[in-house]
C-alpha cells in the first residue's frame, strides 16, 4: 500500500533510501526548475569546467516551463514536462549529487542506472495539472538564463508539492509495475 511521506529539501542519501515506488511524496522547500535548453547549458558549463549557477548536490530539479503569473501572483500554471528529453543530461547531474528529479513519463535505462549508482529518485507529478500544482508554489525567482523565457532556471519555494515515486534508488519502476498489475 502506498505511503504518504513529507520531504524537506535539500535531500540526503537517507531521505532517498527511505523512498519506495508508489509512495506519495509531498515536497517542501527550495527546488529548481530546468528544461531542455537549461540542461544543455548546465552540462556544457560542467564540460568546460566552469561553475554552475546553482548548487546541484542534495537538490531537486523540477522539469517545468511555467506560464507567466498574473500581476500579484507568484507563478502561473506549473505542471511537469516529459522527462525523457532530459535523459541525455541527467546522469551527469546525478553524478554531481542531484537527489531528485520531478517530471512525467518514462526514464531511460542510463538514467535509472545513474539513480541507483548515485542514490537518487525520480518523482512523477501529474502531467497537465498545472493550475493545481501552482498552488504549492510559494515563491519563484529566476536565477539563470532569463533569455530562455519559460525555460529559464527558477528557484522555487514549494509547500507540499504532490508527487509519486516513479523510480526509487533500487532501480524499480512504478510504470512497469503498474503495467504488470493492470494489463489484461
Amino acid at each position: 500500500m502506498s505511503r504518504l511521506i513529507k520531504l524537506n529539501t535539500p535531500l540526503s542519501d537517507n531521505d532517498v533510501e527511505a523512498l519506495e515506488i508508489g509512495d506519495t511524496v509531498l515536497v517542501s522547500g527550495v527546488i529548481y526548475t530546468a528544461r531542455d535548453a537549461a540542461h544543455k547549458r548546465l552540462v556544457d558549463l560542467m564540460h568546460a569546467g566552469q561553475e554552475l549557477p546553482l548548487e546541484v548536490a542534495g537538490q531537486v530539479i523540477f522539469y517545468v516551463g511555467p506560464t507567466p503569473g498574473r500581476p500579484g501572483r507568484v507563478i502561473g500554471a506549473a505542471g511537469p514536462t516529459t522527462a525523457y528529453r532530459m535523459d541525455p543530461y541527467a546522469p551527469e547531474l546525478l553524478a554531481r549529487g542531484l537527489k531528485a528529479m520531478i517530471g512525467k513519463g518514462k526514464r531511460g535505462p542510463e538514467v535509472i542506472a545513474a539513480m541507483v549508482k548515485h542514490k537518487a529518485v525520480y518523482l512523477g507529478a501529474t502531467g497537465g495539472a498545472g493550475a493545481l500544482i501552482s498552488k504549492s508554489i510559494k515563491s519563484a525567482q529566476i536565477v539563470a538564463y532569463e533569455d530562455l523565457g519559460p525555460e529559464a532556471i527558477r528557484r522555487l519555494v514549494v509547500e507540499d508539492l504532490p508527487t509519486i515515486v516513479i523510480n526509487d534508488c533500487r532501480g524499480r519502476d512504478l510504470y512497469e509495475e503498474g503495467l504488470r498489475r493492470y494489463a489484461r
Binding site: S2, G22, T24, D36, A37, V64, G65, P66, T67, P68, G69, R70, G76, A77, A78, G79, T81, T82, Y84, K104, G105, K106, G124, T126, G127, G128, A129, G130, A131, L132, S134, K135, L148, G149, P150, E151, P162, I164, L174, Y175, E177, G178, L179, R180, R181, Y182, A183, R184
Partner: protein
C-alpha cells in the same frame, strides 16, 4: 455577399485561445468523473480527482489548465459568400494568437527548430482553411500540447496489413507513448488519404465530442473495440497503472491509393482544449 472585417477575426481568435486554455470542455469533465467512479487503481483515482480539481482552479482563477498552452492550431471554415475586408486574413489570425497569448498570460512555446530561440509570442499558428457553402466564418481554435504531439505517429502500412494491422499499429502507438503523452488520452485516428491527409484526418477526429458515437455504426463499433484493446494495456491515468489509458478513440476515414494504407494516430492529452467561434 456578407462583409466580415478581419479585425473581428483577430478579436475572436484572441478570446478563443484564452478561453480554451482556462476552460476544459464539459465532455472531458464528464469523462473524468465517470472514470473516477469506475477506476480500480487508487493512484489513478487520485489522478482523476486532481484533474477535476485542476480544471476547477483553472476555470475559476483563470490559470491555464496546463503550463503547455500549446501550439495554436486553427481550423477556419470560410463561407463562400463571405467577403473578408480590412486586411490580410492569415495575418489577422496570427495577430489574434499573439494578443491572446500575451494578454492571457499563456506560455509562448514556439521556437526556431535549429537555434531553439523562442519566437516570443507563440506565433506562427498552424492554420487550415477550407471554403464551404454559406455566409458565415467558423473558427475552431485548438491549442495542441507538445508532449502528446511528440508521441503521435503516421504509419504507411502495406494494404496486406488489413484491419488487423491497423488495430495493431494504433494500440502499439499508444503502448509506446506510455506515460509520456499525459494519459488519459483521446486517440484521433486518420485512415486513408495521403501521408499528410491521414494526419490531418486524425487531428480533426480529436475535435469530436468525447462520449459521442461515430455516425457509422461499423466505425462506432471499431472505435469501441480499439478503446477496449488500449485500456487493456493497463497504462492508466498518468501512467501509474489502471483501467483508463484513453477515454475515447475517434476515427476519420477516407479512400486511399490502391498501393497504400496510411494510418495516422494523433494523441491528445487529457488537456483536450478547443474552442469554436462562428462569425
Amino acid at each position: 455577399m456578407r462583409d466580415i472585417e478581419v479585425k473581428e477575426i483577430t478579436r475572436a481568435v484572441k478570446e478563443a485561445v484564452m478561453e480554451a486554455n482556462y476552460r476544459l470542455g464539459e465532455d472531458m469533465l464528464r469523462a473524468f468523473a465517470e472514470a473516477l467512479k469506475a477506476e480500480e487503481s487508487p493512484s489513478c483515482q487520485e489522478v482523476f480527482r486532481q484533474l477535476l480539481e485542476n480544471a476547477r482552479i483553472a476555470r475559476e482563477e483563470l490559470i491555464p489548465i496546463c503550463q503547455d498552452c500549446g501550439l495554436a492550431v486553427i481550423f477556419a471554415e470560410v463561407g463562400q459568400e463571405v467577403h473578408l475586408v480590412g486586411g490580410d486574413f492569415q495575418a489577422a489570425i496570427q495577430e489574434g494568437v499573439r494578443q491572446g497569448y500575451q494578454e492571457g498570460y499563456l506560455r509562448k512555446s514556439m521556437c526556431d527548430p535549429f537555434t531553439r530561440a523562442n519566437t516570443g509570442d507563440n506565433t506562427p499558428a498552424v492554420i487550415y482553411t477550407t471554403i464551404v457553402p454559406g455566409e458565415t466564418l467558423k473558427l475552431m481554435v485548438v491549442p495542441k500540447g507538445g508532449g502528446s504531439e511528440n508521441m503521435s505517429r503516421v504509419h504507411m502500412l502495406r494494404p496486406a496489413a488489413g484491419l488487423a494491422g491497423i488495430k495493431e499499429k494504433i494500440v502499439e502507438t499508444v503502448r509506446e507513448a506510455g506515460a509520456n503523452c499525459c494519459p488519459p488520452t483521446i486517440i484521433g485516428v486518420g485512415i486513408g488519404g495521403t501521408f499528410d491527409q491521414a494526419a490531418l484526418l486524425a487531428k480533426k477526429a480529436l475535435l469530436r465530442e468525447v462520449g459521442s458515437k461515430h455516425p457509422d455504426p461499423e466505425l462506432a463499433a471499431l472505435e469501441e473495440e480499439i478503446l477496449g484493446l488500449i485500456n487493456n494495456l493497463g497504462i492508466g491515468a498518468a501512467g501509474l497503472g489502471g483501467r483508463f489509458t484513453s477515454l475515447a478513440v475517434h476515427i476519420n476515414l477516407m479512400p486511399c491509393h490502391i498501393a497504400s494504407l496510411p494510418v495516422a494516430v494523433n494523441i491528445q492529452c487529457h488537456a483536450s482544449r478547443h474552442q469554436e467561434v462562428v462569425l
